[in-house]
């Protein structure tokens, strides 16, 4: 949306947005800000933020929630070779957060923590029968369509995508925060009725498409 605004308005009004969107998931994004955070605004899952930035060292403060993303627990229904009930949880992510809160986690479940999101596609293929995995979109919608996985009853969890501002944007006369939020809100509401341009803009960004595809357990092949 900000890229679209930038393309449409930078010539006429002088407004300029630079959007960085290279990481595979929210945790990797917040981790990448630890060494330096020169963003004015950040958008990501609150659940990953609080687990990645436990000491609250990042200079970011919460402005408000933007949207929810669905997360579910899936159980592998491949032919059983024995009863297992491990639950695979990506460490310091919204999956870990759901595990902490205990929502729809069976009492007998044993946590199987992993720390590298790139193994997710292989993990999904090799997960033992009876084991579970906590997955958010886009992987969640991919697993929903597979016959060898079933959603655990009442395991839906809404991941909260939030807008965060750098400490400096809240300082008086440093940044036109009300104007920024009014533009964001107006554009957001317009996009709810007319969003066809957003896909075209994202599709042009090869790094984004590669990261998005990986997050869905898929592969984006560059178009030469």
């Amino acid at each position: 949306m900000f890229r679209d605004l930038n393309e449409r308005l930078s010539n006429s009004s002088g407004i300029q947005f630079t959007v960085y969107c290279d990481e595979i998931n929210g945790r990797a994004f917040f981790d990448s800000l630890r060494s330096s955070c020169d963003l004015d605004f950040a958008i990501g899952p609150l659940e990953a933020l609080v687990l990645s930035d436990g000491g609250q060292k990042l200079p970011l403060r919460l402005i408000g929630p933007l949207c929810g993303e669905r997360q579910h627990i899936y159980v592998s229904t491949k032919k059983r070779a024995g009863v297992r009930s491990g639950v695979w949880v990506f460490d310091r992510s919204s999956a870990k957060f759901q595990y902490h809160v205990g929502l729809a986690i069976p009492r007998s479940a044993q946590e199987q923590s992993f720390d590298d999101a790139r193994i997710v596609p292989d993990l999904v293929e090799s997960i033992p029968p009876g084991d579970m995995v906590i997955a958010w979109d886009p992987l969640s919608s991919v697993l929903k369509g597979r016959k060898d996985f079933a959603v655990i009853h009442q395991s839906d969890y809404t991941v909260h995508f939030v807008l965060l501002g750098h400490l400096r944007v809240f300082r008086k006369n440093q940044f036109p925060l009300q104007a920024f939020l009014a533009v964001l809100l107006t554009e957001w509401r317009r996009r709810q009725h007319r969003n066809e341009g957003l896909f075209k803009i994202l599709r042009r960004d090869h790094r984004f498409m590669t990261a998005f595809a990986l997050g869905a357990g898929q592969r984006w092949i560059p178009e030469v």
């Binding site: 959007v19 402005i63 408000g64 669905r70 994202l202 592969r219």
Partner: protein
């Protein structure tokens, strides 16, 4: 590659081969179309089986793989806008309430998580009330932002 994936790949290859073959066969009439389609499918399947490296780098493979990712992305954009918390002040407040109680529950397991309030700025609360703006007000906000950007450079947003 799993057998299931292999079967899907073979179907796709055969379908494309069949299409190409039947297109060429159509030049020779209905019988030619059928014969061409069958020959094309067999040929494409043979390529997939005996020269998989060629298929892996093929236009067809790229098309099928990218089409799937594009479909997932389109659905994700729709879902994000549909599951918005910015529709009304009550949606927004409800989400804030939910986040507050979830953080409270999670911090009982891990103290470092802290409360929602500790992550809010000291002197600012976003209220959606009175933020709806007509075209004139919207243009004023854009102008205000434009002036800022001319003096300070682009607004940097990460996600």
């Amino acid at each position: 590659m799993s057998k299931k994936k292999e079967a899907i790949q073979d179907q796709a290859v055969a379908a494309l081969g069949g299409l190409v073959g039947s297109g060429l066969g159509a030049l020779a009439g209905p019988e030619g179309m059928a014969a061409g389609g069958a020959a094309g499918s067999v040929g494409a399947l043979l390529v997939s089986k005996y020269a998989p490296e060629y298929f892996d780098n093929s236009v067809l493979r790229r098309y099928l793989s990218n089409r799937k990712v594009a479909g997932i992305l389109k659905a994700k954009i729709e879902a994000d806008l549909k599951n918005s918390f910015l529709g009304s002040q009550s949606d927004f407040d409800l989400a804030m309430k939910s986040m507050r109680s979830l953080l409270q529950a999670a911090s009982s397991q891990d103290r470092s998580i802290g409360s929602l309030d500790s992550r809010l700025p000291r002197n600012f609360r976003w209220s959606l009330v009175n933020m709806d703006c007509d075209e004139e007000a919207f243009q004023q906000h854009l102008s205000h932002m434009g002036t800022y950007c001319q003096q300070n450079g682009p607004v940097r947003i990460g996600c």
